[in-house]
C-alpha cells in the first residue's frame, strides 16, 4: 500500500483530547511502523483507551490529527459550514432548471416532474449529509471541507479493533459475529437481497463465500467448529478470541487490541501471545496493543510507548523502556529523597 517504506502506517501528531477540564491525552506524537507490534502501556487512567478511541474514530480529538496510510483521517473538522452549499445547491439548480423548462414548454406536467426531481435532489443531498457515503466524502474534499472519520470509515480504511470489555453481539452466533465484522467487505445491498433467487444468486453466492471465509477466521483464532454457538455462551477466553476474529473480518491492515489478555489465566495468555505473533507473521498485520501484563508486552512488542497522565513519557524497544527512569517512576512512584 505504502510507496515509501520509511513512512509509518499510522502517524499521530500532537493529539489532544479534553473532557471539560480534564486533559485525557495531551499533545501525543505517536507512530506505528508498518508490520510492527507496538504496545501502549501506562498506569490506570493514563489515557490509553482514550487515545485508542481517537484512533478508532469514536472520539474527535480536541487538537491534532491522525494520518493513516498517508491520509489524514481524524482531526478537528474544518469548514463545516461550507457543506451546506452541497446540501442545497443541487436542489436549487434542479429547481431553476425545472422552472426554466416549465417557462419554455409551458407544460404543467414538465413543471411538476421537474419540481419532483428538484425535491428528490434536495432530499438525496440532505440524506447524504447525514449518512456520509463515500462519494459524498469525496465531494466534501473537493470544496475543502474536512470531517473526521467515523468508526465505520476507519474500518473501511483498514483499522480493526477489539474492546477492553468484550462487546460481542451476545445473541448472535459466533459465525454471525464474524460475518458482521466482514460487513464492509460485502457488496450485496437490500435490492440484491430482494431480487436474490436462483436466477440471480448474487447475494446467495456472496453469503456462501463469506460464511466460508468466516469459518476460516474462526479456525485462525482457535475456534474451529464453534460457529453456531451463541456468542454469550462461549467461555470468556473464547469470547476474546471471537472479538479478534470479528475485527479480522474486514481484512484490516492495523489491528487495535485493547487488553486482549485481561482476565485470562497464564496458559490462555500464552496462547493469545502466540496468536498475536502468528497474525503478524502469517498475515503481515500491524498491531497496536494496550496491555497491563508486562509478560505479554515484553515478549511480543517491537516497540513500547508509555503514557502517563495523558503524556507520552517514553518510547522505544522493550528493553529501553524497561530501564527508563521515568517509566519506573510512573509505575512505582518517585524514590523518597
Amino acid at each position: 500500500m505504502n510507496p515509501h517504506a520509511s513512512e509509518p502506517l499510522l502517524h499521530a501528531v500532537k493529539v489532544t483530547k479534553r473532557f471539560g477540564g480534564l486533559i485525557a491525552v495531551n499533545e501525543v506524537d505517536f507512530t506505528i511502523p508498518e508490520g510492527a507490534i507496538v504496545s501502549l502501556i501506562g498506569p490506570n487512567g493514563a489515557g490509553k483507551t482514550t487515545l485508542f478511541n481517537i484512533i478508532a474514530g469514536i472520539y474527535d480529538p480536541t487538537l491534532g490529527e491522525i494520518d493513516f496510510k498517508g491520509q489524514r483521517m481524524v482531526a478537528r473538522p474544518e469548514n463545516v459550514r461550507r457543506a451546506t452549499i452541497l446540501w442545497f445547491a443541487p436542489g436549487m439548480i434542479l429547481a431553476a432548471a425545472a422552472f426554466l423548462a416549465y417557462q419554455v414548454t409551458g407544460s404543467q406536467l414538465v413543471g411538476a416532474l421537474g419540481g419532483l426531481i428538484a425535491i428528490a435532489g434536495l432530499v438525496i443531498m440532505l440524506l447524504a449529509g447525514v449518512a456520509r457515503p463515500l462519494w459524498y466524502g469525496r465531494l466534501l474534499g473537493r470544496i475543502g471541507v474536512f470531517l473526521s472519520a467515523r468508526p465505520n470509515d476507519m474500518v473501511v480504511a483498514g483499522i480493526g479493533r477489539t474492546f477492553q470489555n468484550i462487546r460481542l453481539f451476545q445473541n448472535m452466533t459466533a459465525l454471525e459475529n464474524v460475518l458482521v465484522g466482514m460487513h464492509s467487505k460485502l457488496r450485496a445491498n437490500w435490492v440484491h437481497a430482494i431480487i436474490d433467487s436462483r436466477l440471480a444468486p448474487m447475494a446467495t453466492n456472496e453469503e456462501r463465500a463469506a460464511a466460508a471465509r468466516a469459518e476460516e477466521l474462526l479456525t485462525l483464532v482457535g475456534l474451529p467448529g464453534k460457529g453456531h454457538e451463541l456468542a454469550k455462551n462461549l467461555p470468556y477466553g473464547d469470547q476474546r478470541r471471537l472479538e479478534i476474529a470479528r475485527a479480522m473480518g474486514a481484512d484490516p491492515a492495523l489491528l487495535l487490541l485493547d487488553e486482549p489478555t485481561a482476565g485470562m489465566n497464564p496458559r490462555e495468555t500464552s496462547e493469545v501471545i502466540a496468536l498475536i505473533a502468528r497474525l503478524r507473521r502469517d498475515l503481515g498485520l500491524t498491531i497496536l496493543l494496550i496491555e497491563h501484563d508486562m509478560r505479554v508486552v515484553m515478549s511480543v512488542s517491537d516497540r513500547v510507548s508509555v503514557l502517563d497522565h495523558g503524556e507520552m513519557i517514553a518510547e522505544g524497544t522493550p528493553d529501553e523502556v524497561r530501564r527508563n527512569p521515568r517509566v519506573i517512576e510512573a509505575y512505582l512512584g518517585a524514590p523518597a529523597v
Partner: protein, 401 residues
Amino acid sequence: MTISAKDLLELLRYPAAAFVVALVYAPVREFLRRHRSTAIFLGVTAAASLLPFIVTLPVLNEFERQNVWLDGFSNAGVFVLLAVGLNIVVGLAGLLDLGYAAFFAIGAYTYAFGASPFSGNHFPFLLMVAAGAIVAATFGVLLGAPTLRLRGDYLAIVTLGFGEIVPIVFLNADQFTEGTNGIGGIYKPDLPLLESFSLLNPWPFYLVMALMIIVVLILVYKLERSRLGRSWMAVREDELAAAASGINTVVTKLLAFSLGASTSGFAGVFNAAKLTLVSPDQFLFTVSFTVLAAIVLGGMGNIWGVAMGAFILYTIQVVLLHELNTFFDNFHLPHPNFVEYQYLLFGLALVVMMLLRPEGLFPSQRRKRELHAAEELGDDAELPGADELGGVDPSSSEVRL
C-alpha cells in the same frame, strides 16, 4: 382439542399410514426449510383458501355470513401488513417506533390524492401502490434522519409525536384534505382479471390482500436473511460495536425506518381503496398501539409470529368482543360493553404475556434462546453494568424493548 400421545400411538397401528407419514414428513419439512419463499407462498395460500370454508362451519357461521367474515379478514390483512412492517423497525432493528400509524396515513392519503373525484386524478391502482410505498418510505427517512441519535424511550417519544402530528396536519389542512370529513368517493382498484370490486363482493379484496401478504412476507423474509438483516440485528445488539465492525449505522437505521414505512404505506393504499374514504380519525394512536401490541403478542422478530399476532388481535378486537356482547345480551345478563374495554383487555393481556411468555406466542428461535438462556444461567447476565462501558460513550448503553 389436543392430540395426545395415545392418539398418535393409535395412528401407528395403521402401518401403511405411519409409513407414508414417515416417508413424506422429513423430506417435506426439509424442502420447506430450504425453500422458505415457497413455504411462505404455500402457507399463506393454504390459509387463504381454508379460511372461507372454515367460517361456514358450525359455530362460526352463526356469527356472521361468509361475506362479512371475508371482509373482516381483508381488514385483518391490513393489520398483518402493518405488523410485518413495524416488525422491521422494532423487532429487527430494535428502534421503538410509536408513531407507525403516520406512515399508514401517508400511504392512504397518497392514494386519495391519486385516485379520487376530490383531486380529479385517476391513476391506476398498481402505480398508486408503488407511489404510496415510495412516499411513505420518503417520510420514513425524513422522520428517521433527525432521530438517529436517539434510542429507546427518547426515540419512542419523538416517533409518538410524529404519529400525532401527521393526522393533525391532515385534519387542519382542509383545503387539501377536506379536514374532518376526509376524502370520500375514492376510486376502487381496477385490476385485470378481478373486475368487480364492490362493497357487496368481498372476494377481489380478499384475494388481492392474500397476494399482497405473500409478496410482503417473502420480501421481508429475504431482507431479514440478508447482509442488511444481519446489520439490523447487530445495531440492535450493540450499536457502537456495530459501527466499530464497519457498519454504517446511519444508513442501516434509515433503511429500517424507510422499509418499515413503505410496508405501512402499501397497507394504507389498500385500506383507502377498500374503504373508499380516508379521514384523519382512522390513523390515531390506537392504531400504532394495536400494531405494536400485535407484534409483542405474536413474537417480535418472527415474521410468522407477528403476522399471526396481528390476525388474532384483529379478530379478537372486531369479532370476539362484539360476540361477547351479543352472547351476554342473549342471556339477559348484565355485562360491561366489552368493545369499550378493549384497550384495558389488551393491556392486561400484554402484562400477562410479559410475565408468562415474554417472547410472544410464536417466538423466533433467536429470541427464545435469548430470553431463556438468562433464566437458565439464573443471573442477570443480560444487564450490562455501567462499569462495563469502559471509556466509551456512556449514551451507547443499550435500552432495549
